[in-house]
Symmetry: C2
Subunit: 340 residues, 2 copies
């Protein structure tokens, strides 16, 4: 019974995401198509609509989780999906602008299983495309929303961007500045992932003309869910199937300071000490299988699963009316169980 | 008589710029101070308010030409400077966001006579600061302007950013793709410099609640002036005094394809052929004095001066009421005569 419920919920989550993608796609394509060449072509490539030459592909794009959150939050507040589409598209544009810039900073060569934009067009053009998507997001809001809703939405979205910049700064710094603890990691993840998911949900409520406490509750739901998403992402980065996740190699092979590692290193165990020694050596000499076993035996996997689970519970607890927000609860369940 | 008029005009231009800087400074400082550390400190360093450790300096910041254009355009449309301050600050934030990103792309190590932000804090942090200033610009508009004015201003400002991204793309491309002609150069300069100066003036008119034809005329004025500004900048890049301009070396030493060079290369003269040969060689072996003489004898200097002059005339001709816009005319005169 539990399993069939879970299968039904998982099916419903796919439906929600697919429907959000279908609803937002025209707005996103219209926005990206308004860019001058070659930014337009680069944008369509990045979103997975066409290849580097501009030929249409059947590549799957992003999951559209953030647009789905915006739409479902609006619906949970009693509005139709339609009122939230511009906000959903704007959030997705911001998400993709930060992916473009983060891939440059992190020297990540693969994005969604394909070469990242900067590896094809170079760093300057990828920076410029990111800047242009940032602009498009604001423009989509002012053209797609009524005046006062647009200005409220822009204030929230730009504040989220500033939080994300701060989170990404901390993330870059943590790679060079040595070990951080679980609390510091959580603050960084809140900026990098929580802020925009919180904003996605809050904007749904703003578009539905919800009262301020509801907007705040939606923001909290999205932030907690964003943290859970990041923690699960960290689990996938070590124990996920690269063929499914599209991630080229284990996070451990690159000495990434993800939550399971941070948590393992802070465990005070013999495994932690051995892992710390391995992390001080050249990444090229990394024995990934051994490191994985050490993270697991130091409790890094279990504690990350527990923390992710706690964040999902906190997210759902923040909802004023979980029944009206049933689709948000479904998405929260998907985040905690996803494997890619 | 002509000289004393010119001196009086030059004095008046300094007053206009200084007054614009004084009026905008509190808004800019408030915006940058709202950033989390270390973005706040980096921002204050970039604006010239303090050194890299955060200690206040007496460094001169930027010229504040764009904020002055916004304020003077509003005044020319019958408004008080106050109504345009948020727009003036937003334009200056956008200008500085693009400087931060351009310096990374162009590997420019010096900005306003000091080490560029990326040379001190690294490329990722400089990218993030640029992204954050972009967000601040939109936030300053929604918090500082009445609803409908704010949304109109954001639409214009973000469109200008997209044009600037396109212009910077062309500029980067022109360095690797070989010679371009004067028309292509002008299109690139319109994106890189004209778009934001046009937007600065248009926003002044928007804040003054001017009619659409007035907004368009102000946009044209600013765009033409921006082109003149870029052309004069190109002259300074070769014949200016590095001590005054803050530019470390002649554009020719770096093989920059500025307008005097593009114009000289297209002249069909023997000097053009010799210059082309020099530009194909390693920049380290560049005889800058010889190249400067070649650009001059191929007519590159004279034609650039003529083109700049033509753009200033076109700018002033676009003004519906040059008497009401006297301060804009003064600024136009300053742009055509400036030497830094």
């Amino acid at each position: 019974m539990v399993e069939s419920t879970s299968a039904a919920t998982s099916h419903r989550a796919s439906e929600i995401l697919s429907s959000a993608r279908t609803m937002c796609d025209p707005l996103l394509r219209e926005a990206v198509s308004s860019l001058p060449e070659p930014l337009c072509r680069m944008g369509g490539y990045h979103f997975g609509w066409w290849d580097a030459e501009g030929t249409a592909t059947l590549q799957p794009g992003g999951k559209a989780l953030r647009p789905a959150l915006t739409i479902c939050a609006a619906v949970a507040c009693g509005a139709t999906p339609r009122v939230a589409l511009a906000a959903a598209a704007a959030v997705e544009l911001i998400h993709n602008f930060t992916l473009l810039h983060d891939d440059i900073m992190d020297v990540d060569q693969i994005r969604r299983g394909r070469p990242a934009v900067w590896t094809i067009w170079g760093v300057p053009d990828a920076m410029l495309l990111g800047d242009a998507l940032h602009s498009l997001a604001a423009r989509v809001l002012v053209t797609g929303l009524p005046g006062r809703t647009a200005t409220a939405a822009i204030a929230k979205l730009e504040s989220a961007v500033i939080e994300m910049c701060h989170g990404q700064h901390k993330d870059c710094r943590s790679r060079s500045a040595g070990p951080i603890d679980v609390e510091e990691y959580a603050r960084m993840a809140m900026g990098k992932t929580g802020a925009l998911m919180g904003c996605a949900c809050a904007l749904g409520a703003v578009c539905a003309q919800a009262e301020r406490p509801t907007v705040t509750a939606m923001d909290t739901f999205g932030r907690e869910l964003g943290m859970a998403f990041q923690f699960v992402d960290d689990l996938i980065g070590i124990w996920g199937d690269p063929k499914v996740s599209g991630k080229p190699a284990s996070d451990l092979a690159r000495h990434t300071m993800s939550l399971p590692v941070v948590s393992a290193l802070g465990s005070g165990t013999a495994a932690a000490a051995e892992l710390a020694t391995m992390y001080r050596r050249d990444p090229d000499s990394m024995d990934t299988a051994r490191a994985t076993a050490l993270v697991e035996s130091a409790g890094g996997r279990e504690s990350t699963e527990r923390l992710a689970d706690g964040r999902v519970r906190a997210a759902i607890a923040a909802l004023a009316d979980p029944v009206a927000a049933a689709d948000l609860v479904v998405l929260a369940g998907m985040v905690s169980r996803r494997n890619h």
